[in-house]
Subunit: 346 residues, 2 copies
DNA sequence: CATCTTAATGGTAGCGCTACCCATACAATG
DNA sequence: CATTGTATGGGTAGCGCTACCATTAAGATG
């Protein structure tokens, strides 16, 4: 009775789960050998490996990765920290990261900062508590505490979306200012002279603000007057595009082109223009970013600067995995660039 | 020299991280008291709590959640398993889940099955290895092993998207067959008689296939002839809609309405029709699902069956959290229903 | 044939934390 | 006054796994 009570009490914690020790007993080897058979199969004989596999199968053993993580000081988890999941761009990047990591046997822990750097800082603390194998975060701007903590941490860190010459560790992204500059230059080349910039959430999304910076720099260089900046203090949406078109059409003098901070807003403009019979690009030219699939199905097609989002995710994951496998990746800082996809909207 | 070497060797594993014991020493209390001060502050005196907080701050202590998880047999992680991240629907649900979980101090571990139930089964095994606090998975169809393992597991499980009367544990979703039935009924009511169904990825996405089932049942009940089923063996995209329109226009006799398996495809149809000058709904009526934001910006607006995706995510997370806090949620099976949003496309 | 490798396995000692039980101090109860 | 709470803090013993070192047997080397 007594010993049974003790056993049942033990169960309470261990939940009666099959452990590595059970497998070892069944296979007639030491626990450590089971661990090796599962994690570094090259280091055990084929015969032992087979016995262990059979025992695993027979008992339905599932490794406790938490225990393994504690012992080895590293779980196979990669936290990915992004500002928001409501932005298609991040989704595509995340999708690519996740696919690549999962293929390599790592799991993605997803967290969002809601564009708040302080939240990011506390999230970094939290996720480091999971002893992750590496970390992927968005952008190059972080609280000093985040930067120093991750630098000291000694494991791979990849910053995505933006590029710069002094990342925490590794970096894959595009140059936001160059993006803005390229679109503005394109519009100028096409002969437009009163170019307005439509931005949403610029206060939060500083990468969108960088595009505005590039825009303004290009106008300055060309000696062109600024066609105005319309700012909407909310996340990008078709709705913002609809309102932007209204507001632009009401401006005097009226801009002859608008430079939208992203494709969603630009698409909203195009959809509203088509509804209202406003001719694009004769009355108003429209340019956007990112190369969303929708852009090429609109009439006219949206001129956009396409960014290789999936590629960014894949490369970020690969840099991380390379470092985890002990290699030193070449070019740990990667500018993925962008491509002008000329549609009928400019 | 010797003792220093030993210390540095220890460092190798422990990475010199600040531990709970360090905090205890600094605060002049026992480690267990620090644990209590941090996890159940109500059980320590205000004075001790203050001393501990000060020590935490001074040392920059970050709890090792892996160690805590091992000891307590439960990390604050909730794996969310979905078929794909390329589908907007899942993204919105995930976003809502993540927001709610993070607010309650839980982290979301995201994994994708790529529509493969065997992959799902092995993913479930893997994520259970993280001793998660609960699990959220998609749909009600799973391998028997998944069902029995999760039933025995004893922690909260929520199945989302679909509803049924025998979930593993809890369930929030909508009835797929009812969706298909409602849209087909709507089209019939509007007087359309040759209604074609356009489906993508039906072999993988069995929930889309359920909508087709509802569609066919509605036609049967009304004694209407089947207007044909067009199936595309690829994920939904605008492109599929473009091709579907082409294919439908080439059919003889030509359908007078098409029932698309989701809004992306339906939008592709509408965009292509507008480009080609095909009048909607006079020449062809179009209906879709989900209530994507794009639907109401198209000309004409798309008639769609809106599903409360964010609500689904939030409720799934809340059911889970409620159970984690020890309560027994009322209505652990929730059918969220849907709303017909009539646009100009039908 | 002694010595050195190399391969394969085992033993020990934690990783950092919390569940469980116990000890103490003081208030409340009859 | 003895008895029974009720806070508050501490001690011990793991959770299930892997790093590290030791051991053994077999082959390679001079």
């Amino acid at each position: 009775m007594d010993s049974q009570e003790i056993r049942s009490r033990k169960r309470h914690r261990g939940k009666g789960r099959v452990t590595l020790a059970d497998v070892a007993r069944q296979a007639g080897v030491a626990p450590i050998t089971v661990s090796r058979a599962l994690n570094t199969p090259g280091r055990v004989s084929a015969e032992v490996k087979e016995r262990v596999d059979a025992a695993v199968e027979a008992l339905g053993y599932v490794p406790n990765l938490i225990a393994g993580g504690l012992a080895a000081a590293g779980t196979r988890v990669i936290p990915v920290i992004v500002p928001s999941l409501a932005i298609l761009t991040f989704i595509e990047v995340i999708d690519a990261i996740q696919k690549r990591l999962e293929a390599a046997g790592y799991q993605m822990l997803l967290a969002t900062t809601d564009w708040d750097l302080d939240r990011e800082a506390s999230l970094v603390d939290t996720v480091l508590g999971y002893s992750p194998s590496g970390v992927i975060l968005t952008g190059l701007r972080h609280r000093p505490r985040v930067i120093s903590r991750l630098r000291d941490w000694g494991r791979p860190v990849v910053e995505i979306m933006e590029v710069g010459d002094d990342p925490i560790d590794m970096n894959v992204g595009v140059d936001g200012v160059a993006l803005g500059h390229a679109m503005a230059s394109h519009l100028l080349e096409q002969g437009y002279r009163r170019i307005a910039f439509v931005g949403s959430h610029l206060g939060h999304d500083y990468r969108a603000a960088q595009r505005l910076e590039g825009h303004q720099r290009a106008l300055e260089e060309a000696g062109a007057a600024c066609g105005g900046v319309l700012e909407y203090h909310e996340p990008a949406s078709y709705e913002v595009g609809v309102r932007a078109l209204e507001d632009v059409m009401a401006m005097t003098p009226r801009p002859d082109a608008i430079h939208c901070s992203n494709d969603i807003v630009a698409s909203g403009v195009l959809l509203a223009a088509s509804r209202q019979g406003i001719r694009i690009p004769e009355e108003l030219a429209v340019g956007g970013y990112l190369g969303l699939p929708l852009a090429e199905h609109l009439t006219p097609k949206l001129t956009t600067l396409a960014v290789a989002r999936s590629e960014m995710g894949t490369q970020a994951a690969e840099l991380l995995l390379e470092r985890l496998s002990g290699k030193t990746p070449e070019r740990p800082i990667r500018d993925l660039g962008f491509t002008l996809v000329k549609g009928g909207s400019t």
